[in-house]
Amino acid sequence: MTTPLIAVRDLAKTYQVGDHAVQALNGITVEIAQGAFVAVMGPSGSGKSTFMNLLGCLDFPTAGHYTLAGEAVDGLDADALAEIRNRKIGFVFQQFNLLARATALANVELPMVYRGAAREARRSAARAALATVGLADRTHHRPPQLSGGQQQRVAIARALVNDPLLILADEPTGALDSRTGLEIMALFQRLNAGGMTVVLVTHEAEVARFAERELHFLDGALVRDEIHAPDDAAVQLAKREAAA
């Protein structure tokens, strides 16, 4: 068996809230293979967000080990984590988090700016990423001029632009209507089919059905790890179009 992309062993996170410690994550051990499409599920307070923050190198674990593509991540300092986020991870958020003043192109370029890429290289990579998400004709629009679905596509293009090892999506359909949500899920499935590892957090079972594996969290523990045949978002979308 090849090395898994993500290998997590006994990962724990404790928050200090006032006098007492809150165990947000309680010794998680899991592996995620290269090219997987994983949904992280659980009610609020289950620890799924903490898990995502740790996978995304936004936070430091209190205990345990995290290996990303064979490289130990725990113990790295803030600047080293920033570099890993920049080069190896693409983030997609529920609220898109685009810079309202900047064009779609400039938004997509942002991770490359922090990588120190030259202007021309940034331009062409950002254009390519926007073409991948189907927005080649929207490069000079600003977020307020774009629909919610289009904004999320720009955000996905931004996640793709540095050619990361995985995409971490936090409730990516949460702010979208169900049809647009389907479109975004179809896009993720297409990217996954192209070899991209996708980990998404959701509390909706229908959304999780598009992944091939579901990790269920409850009270800081991984309670169920389920692999199933995913629904096809593109097919569902086509059915809805036909019905309408």
Binding site: N53, G56, L58, D59, A78, D79, A82, E83, R85, N86, R87, F91, F93, N97, L99, R101, A102, L110, P111, V113, Y114, R115, G116, R158, N162
Partner: protein, 410 residues
């Protein structure tokens, strides 16, 4: 992220809130403009004083006759002609620090030339006077020793007199009349401008001291050698106060004054008086600049305030930037450059306004102003420093944000 990139980013962030950015710059803008214009006014005033010192001549001491008692009543300085031309000669001989000792007398005279007439101040002088006053003759020649001793009927004219009597004609060789005495104009003096009392120093007529006594001003005194004033130039680098003491000793000795007797002359150190004026104008300029500098600090606090607001408003943006790979240093530099840009743009605009104001003050109020390049460079440097100093705290706050918290912020 490169610095250029960060600067471009800062400019676009500031333009996004254009009105707010302009209002924030206003503090620095006004502060710098105030500093530049007050320093210009201050150094303008100083330059006038310095010019006056220069036109008067440097290292000057004036010895005035008199200050004596006549039957118990004290008389004004100069009322008693206690000094003589011999005193002046003796001072120059006995005190090595003295470069020139020029006795002179003065009176207002009416000058007639053809059908023109003009009132000017006549000075009876010897050739030391030109050394002491650092006054040169631009056209013609100076007095010969023979003319000075033998009451030569010759005169040197100041520029104002030339303008009023000759209106463009060459005065050299022409004859003017003073008190019916015909005098040949042998030269014209360099322009000196106004002195520090506002008197026109070019409205003068210079004649040999002997001519002044016998013919032009009139000096029917018991002692034909008596003179009211000696102007003394001390050599560069010599001790002025020490020279004053030496002058006093020599004159007391020559006048045979007992130790219990007062001086029958008074000594004024002109340079010292002017330097005191210069020092006070310097102090005033410094005070003005200090007051103006306070507004710079106020401007800096304004920048800090707005930067704090901006950091709070853009918390999510900061979180996002961190998520996509910005290091803390990148965020710090971004906000520092933003604050510095605010201060610098305000500062540069302030320099322009300050320079304009200095010109306007010179033009409309008629005050002399002097814009100094180093004060401009200093103002620009100080505004940049203010940006860095007052921008640091907000920028550090931005850089210390926790990316998870920042992303969650509404």
């Amino acid at each position: 992220m490169s610095t250029l990139e960060a600067m471009r980013l800062a400019v676009s962030a500031l333009r996004a809130n254009l009105m707010r950015s302009i209002l924030t710059m206003l503090g620095i803008f006004i502060g710098v403009a105030a500093v530049i214009s007050t320093v210009a006014v201050g150094s303008g005033a100083r330059s006038v004083v310095i010019e006056q010192i220069r036109s008067l001549g440097t290292n000057l001491i004036i010895v005035v006759s008199g200050a004596t008692r006549v039957r118990g009543v004290r008389r004004a300085a100069g009322s008693h002609m206690s000094l003589t031309e011999d005193d002046a000669r003796a001072l120059k001989l006995e005190i090595p620090a003295i470069q020139a000792a020029a006795p002179y007398l003065r009176g207002t005279v009416q000058i007639i030339q053809g059908n023109q007439n003009w009132s000017a101040v006549a000075y009876g002088v010897d050739n030391d006077y030109f050394v002491a006053r650092e006054w040169v003759i631009t056209r013609g020649r100076g007095f010969t020793e023979g003319e000075i001793r033998g009451a030569g009927k010759v005169a040197l004219l100041g520029q104002t007199v030339v303008e009023n009597l000759f209106a463009g004609d060459n005065p050299i060789g022409q004859t003017i009349r003073v008190r019916k005495v015909p005098l040949t104009v042998i030269g014209v003096l360099a322009r000196k401008g106004q002195n520090n009392w506002g008197r026109d120093q070019d409205d003068v007529l210079l004649v040999p001291i002997s001519s002044a006594k016998r013919r032009v001003i009139g000096w029917a005194r018991a002692n034909p050698k008596a003179i009211p004033v000696v102007i003394i130039k001390v050599r560069d680098g010599a001790d002025m106060a020490g020279t004053v003491d030496q002058i006093r000793q020599v004159l007391r000795q020559r006048h045979r004054l007992r130790t219990d007797q007062d001086d029958d002359f008074s000594i004024r150190n002109l340079t010292e008086i002017m330097q005191r004026r210069d020092a006070s104008s310097k102090a005033l300029a410094l005070l003005l600049a200090a007051v103006a500098a306070v507004s710079l600090v106020v401007g800096g606090i304004g920048i800090m305030n707005i930067m704090l607001v901006s950091v709070t408003e853009r918390t999510r943006e900061i979180g996002l930037r961190m998520a996509v790979g910005a290091r803390r240093r990148d965020i710090l530099i971004q906000f520092l450059i933003e604050a510095t840009t605010l201060a610098l743009v305000g500062g540069i605009a302030g320099v322009l306004l300050g320079v304009g104001a200095a010109y306007a003050i010179a033009e409309f109020a008629g005050w002399p102003t002097l814009i100094q390049t180093d004060s401009i460079l200093l103002a620009v440097g100080v505004s940049a420093a203010i940006g860095v100093f007052f921008g640091f705290y907000p920028a550090r706050r931005a850089a210390q944000l926790d990316p998870i918290e920042a992303l969650r912020r509404e």
